[in-house]
Symmetry: C2
Subunit: 222 residues, 2 copies
DNA sequence: CAGTTGTGCGTACATATGTACGCTGAATTT
DNA sequence: AAATTCAGCGTACATATGTACGCACAACTG
């Protein structure tokens, strides 16, 4: 235990430069809790073996101080999912805008998403695992995020199909399957030795193209 | 706490009919532990919040007696995965044999698998969740089972393609994606109101057909 | 039939967990 | 300047967990 002069030892006291407003300070601690949990998840722990005390310790606060930020661990988890959801959705939109039309889009999406999952392994794994949990607010949130991603993709597929003049059958089912494949293999990637990863990425791309080809082949007329 | 005359109160003492051999008895208790854990999983608990003590209590034995059967909870989990793996593999083989050729095979497989997952919700969910966990003997086993199922399916796809004279590209990738879709939606099915389930099943079938159409479309010549 | 084996039991303990309670002192408001 | 707010702390406790230890007694072995 380090002894600090004050309970706020980690905060610079420079009076002019740092206006440590209360709101600011609270937000910072809150983020520290989230990061602590994410770190624990990233190093292999599962969310529901994570204890309030442990997260508090990792974040450098007293166990009871946890309650100043979240009512319980579930709320922490919900906050994490929400945060992740926003950045993920935004990220995928950006990729679609940037990618030049056509096939390179699948590749760009896969690579971007996998990078993101890699940078946020812990939370990504948690979302996927929780999305398969039993009914609960927690599952609801995780599952909801995946559904949103899927719906978003479906919308894009329809637009893109119209754009290219190639009809696509069952866009929602196609996007749904896409998300399933993406996340499943995305997570698996991190139990894979680095030298095989590129191969896995290529494999995923082929799988998605396969799916798209099928969706186009099943389209009604032509 | 019920008081039983002996510590083995639950065992009938009928001397002639029941030869309660030690091995038999032990096997029975072991199974009772597995069933207890499976039951807890099925009613929504996640495997790693399951405590040794709790499982022991559910199985009706003293906590310390647990050790007579498994060295720790992880071993219990491994045993469960192994058991499930065997019956699952056998089941899928049987479906393929029975199903008359052609498209009805996909339907038969999906329906059979979903029934099986339904009857073994707890373990199925556990396998899927653990397959996404961090490196560990446990993950290895769960992931291994999915890989086996996938490889098995790939083998069949190749055979079936030859049989029907329709070439299929990347059978291993196709089967891999199939397993991803199947389990993902299979699990999701049980957070779905009963009246929507059939629709989900039909959706899954379409997704798999979509994938197969794509795989065929991507085949080299024809 | 005597001796051994091994599944089951209860007790005991060190450790971990969630959370109630009340205090402190800086930031904010009045 | 005085009063209020509130993020943080430590203490305390009831409960849960894994597991060491040794006893009991049915089943098995000889």
């Amino acid at each position: 235990m380090q002894l600090s002069g004050s309970q706020f030892g980690q905060i610079s006291m420079n009076p002019a430069v740092l206006k440590v407003s209360r709101k600011q300070q609270k937000e910072e601690t809150r983020q520290r809790l989230i990061d602590a949990a994410a770190g624990a998840l990233a190093s292999g722990r599962s969310f529901d073996t994570l204890s309030l005390r442990e997260v508090a310790k990792l974040a450098g606060i007293a166990p009871t101080s946890f309650y100043r930020h979240f009512h319980d661990m579930e709320r922490l988890g919900l906050a994490m999912i929400e945060e992740q959801g926003e950045s993920l959705l935004e990220l995928m939109h950006r990729v679609r805008e940037q990618a030049s039309g056509g096939t390179s889009l699948i590749r760009a999406s896969v690579e971007t998403l996998f990078d993101h999952i890699g940078d946020n392994q812990g939370i990504s794994r948690m979302i996927l695992q929780e999305s398969m949990a039993r009914e609960s607010a927690f599952r609801e949130a995780a599952h909801g995020l995946l559904v949103t991603l899927s719906a978003d993709l479906a919308e894009f597929l329809v637009w893109d199909a119209k754009e290219r003049g190639v009809p696509v059958a069952y866009p929602r089912l196609a996007s749904n399957a896409t998300v399933a494949i993406l996340f499943t293999t995305g997570i698996a990637l991190f139990n894979t030795p680095a030298e095989h990863r590129q191969a896995h990425i290529e494999a995923t791309i082929i799988q998605l193209r396969m799916l798209m080809r099928g969706a186009e082949a099943m389209a009604p007329s032509k």
